[in-house]
Amino acid sequence: MTPPDDGIRAVEALLFAAAEPLTAEAIRAHVGDAVDVRAALARLAEDYAGRGIALVRRGERWHFETAPDLAHLLRRDRDEVRRLSRAGIETLAIIAYHEPVTRAEIEAIRGVQVAKGTLDVLLEAGWVRPAGRREVPGRPLTFATTPGFLAHFGLDSRRDLPGIDDLRAAGLLDPVDLAFEEALEVAKDGESD
């Protein structure tokens, strides 16, 4: 581009560094009467036409701003991998195995209250959806899993989730409770004799 003269350069620098839009008078107060501020503004508007920066006039004031069509670049989305909390994964598991299921039912199964944030996270992750209301007093909302849930966990359908026997065979039942259960079975066997 053709380098502008010092008057134009001064107006350009002033507008660039200004904290707020400036009137022509305010510009003149800085750059001096020797500069034709109107002409400089006109030349700058022309110089910057079609660039990533634009000289714009708002009422009586002038300022530089980023070209409107590029505003989207100033914002960048970044995915941050976050792991589900224990409460989150348990709640998700209950929904997956029991859907459609109300919050009260989830709490009954978990034996612990479900914080609102826990369901929010599952909804935000796109793994759980509201699945209508149960027609009982209070008409509680039920929850179910989504196709996104199946996709994330690599399942063709919910039937692919292992059953309780599979879990036991895989040793996924808590050893303490297992021991308790075995004790129950021994007791039952004793009764049947």
Binding site: E20, E80, V81, E90, G154
Partner: protein, 241 residues
Amino acid sequence: MAEPEQLNLDLEGWEGPLDLLLTLARSQKVDLRAISILSLVEQYLRYIRQRQTLQLEVAADYLVMAAWLAYLKSALLLPRQADEEPDPEELALRLQLRLERLAAMREAGARLMARDRIGRDVFVRAAPEGLRTVRRAAWQAEIYDLISAYGRISARTRPVMHVVADREVMTLEAALARVSRLVGATLDWATLESFLPDGSGRLRKSALASSFLAALELAKQGRVELRQQAPFAPLYVRALA
């Protein structure tokens, strides 16, 4: 040699003894490499003597330096002994090297400060729009986490649920009713297993046993026929027309 009286300054104006020495050395108006260390020592000692209002804590460093310089001066003036350690000339050289280095950094600092500095000589935008990075949570969990969580919950709550489920058995009556109803639905051979209700574990075993007995009973009554290719092979059932 310049008159130290012209340096009418408090010790508090100095950044330590080396700073004072450097300023005094500068007053000799020669290159630091050509400086007279002996004259410098004289200047320093005279200057310190003239400062009567010394605060001891401020003055300590200066007095230590003065003592060291007095020693250096006497060592430089006295006839030199060949094996004298440390060599006073070498001590003087070290002092001169230190002054050179401090002078170099003082000069560098001044040149640095004289550069075009942001906010004084050049300006960046006072009110930039700013860039924003919006963080989106990409939630992550593994299938193992999911099923082990369910296992954990089941194990926690199972004694209650399990006891009820485990008592479920299929009676012979129920099996008779079920098999006779289902077997009529088709004319084809069907495995005995296909008549069992959904379920797992003990209920299934119970249902299999009851259904087997039911099938035998129905065969005895002439309502079905049975077929099995070999021991433990699937047992097929078909309604008799």
